[in-house]
Amino acid sequence: MMPPSPRDLREEVERIYRHDSRRVLATLIRLLGDFDAAEEALHDAFVAAIERWPQEGMPANPIAWLVSTGRFKAIDKRRRQQNFDAKRDQLTYAMSTDVSIEEPTDDVIGDDRLRLIFTCCHPALSPDAQVALTLRTVGNLTTEEIAHAFLLPAPTLAQRIVRAKTKIRAAGIPYEIPAPSELPARLEVVLAVIYLIFNEGYSASSGASLTRSDLSVEAIRLGRLLVELSAEPEAMGLLAMMLLHDSRRAARVTPEGDLLLLDEQDRTRWNADQIAEGLALTEQTLRAARVGPYALQAAIAAVHAEAPRAEETDWRQIVSLYNVLLRIRPTTVVELNRAAAVAMSEGPEQGLELIDRLLGRGELSDYQPAHAARADLLRRLDRREEALEAYAVALRLTSQEAQRRFLERRIRELRA
């Protein structure tokens, strides 16, 4: 066999960087106990790989090599610093006595990635910080890319990440997988962060375009990773739900960037592979001992996915799934979605009655989807004037460009 050319090796290093640098980082954070030192060590390890692999050849286990090299470089750096900084004596001693550089196995690296996810999504960090830190350190996005996706100036986002890292260090947030007794509550935060990232990508809350697919892709990747690492039914439920929603991405918007509702979408444009994977995962989660809210939402999305035409949607099934969801997650938003499903299965009047009752309680009075749903039911009941009024309220509460155009289209149609 020909030895690989330096150029091939360079490409190989780049491939490993894209594919595995986050794994190496996760383990380095544990070994070095510090996010910033680990990032520096990661960088140094890849520089060393570019320098040394062409001469020495590819190591048998490149990830282990990168971890060991990064760790060695960091220790070396601290040791040199220690010459200037006598106070570091103890720390350096503690680090240098632990010279048995174990070959990190896949299991160990997997655990480190899970540690990293739980640390980035620690409930002591603000949701903004959780999202930014997760995307930056677990995900593959640069600070600039994350800032762009959230329509924030890059320095704002960079500062968020710096503050989060500082809090992790100063408040003593440990780098560990939560104990079984804490796991359900902690997992919920992780799932919420991933779902938030997905939603921001799927139905961007503000701005010109309807979806920011890079965020959804990243959320699905994170969801997949979590399933791979933990096999928790709710993690599977979240992944299934994201896949099933994302399968409609291409059909949700017109070439002009306008929003299309479920019953207007060309279902042949739904992504069949994502649906197949989502349905299989949904089935698996519904077999779990306790069915959680993400699994139920996946099941609802699955009913839509299984209907070849909008008219064939099993709305009764959807209503009964919402009934179960409402029992375990009694929120007004779930009630609203259930009302919309009731409108489809029993008739717009029944749905409208539920929505009016909900709005009467005042909690949803500023919630755009509630008014949009109400307007839609009034339109279907031919109560034109009331529908126009409700559309006007919904329009006032909309900050998203494609949503705004959709509501304006409905208003135009009603006036015609």
Binding site: K87, Q90, L91, H122, A124, A170, A171, G172, I173, P174, E176, P178, E182
Partner: protein, 118 residues
Amino acid sequence: MKYLCLIYSDETSWGRMSREEAGAMMGKYMACTEYLKAGGHYLGGNGLQPTSTATTVRVRNGAISTTDGPFVETKEQLGGYYLVEARDLNEAIQLASHIPAAEEGGIEIRPVMDTSGG
């Protein structure tokens, strides 16, 4: 690490308690202190007199100004603290969850600055 657990709750709730209820609450705090001591986490702790007894002092341009009341008026007031030793924030959270006021008010956990130079 050392953490200061600041106990925030509605201080007027003590006034609304019967003698028995107040006694039971005191008992809960004593049990909490015992729990922290038994685990080797207890470094100190005290209840505070109500904010009606508070005085805030400021020195401006060398002159002392004294005002009646707490530094900030809040709906729930600082009513006491525990100083605990914990492995990390997760352990501190677990310890703080045993403080009785966590059930109606809240406990603010603040890591204590390490000034040992390490």
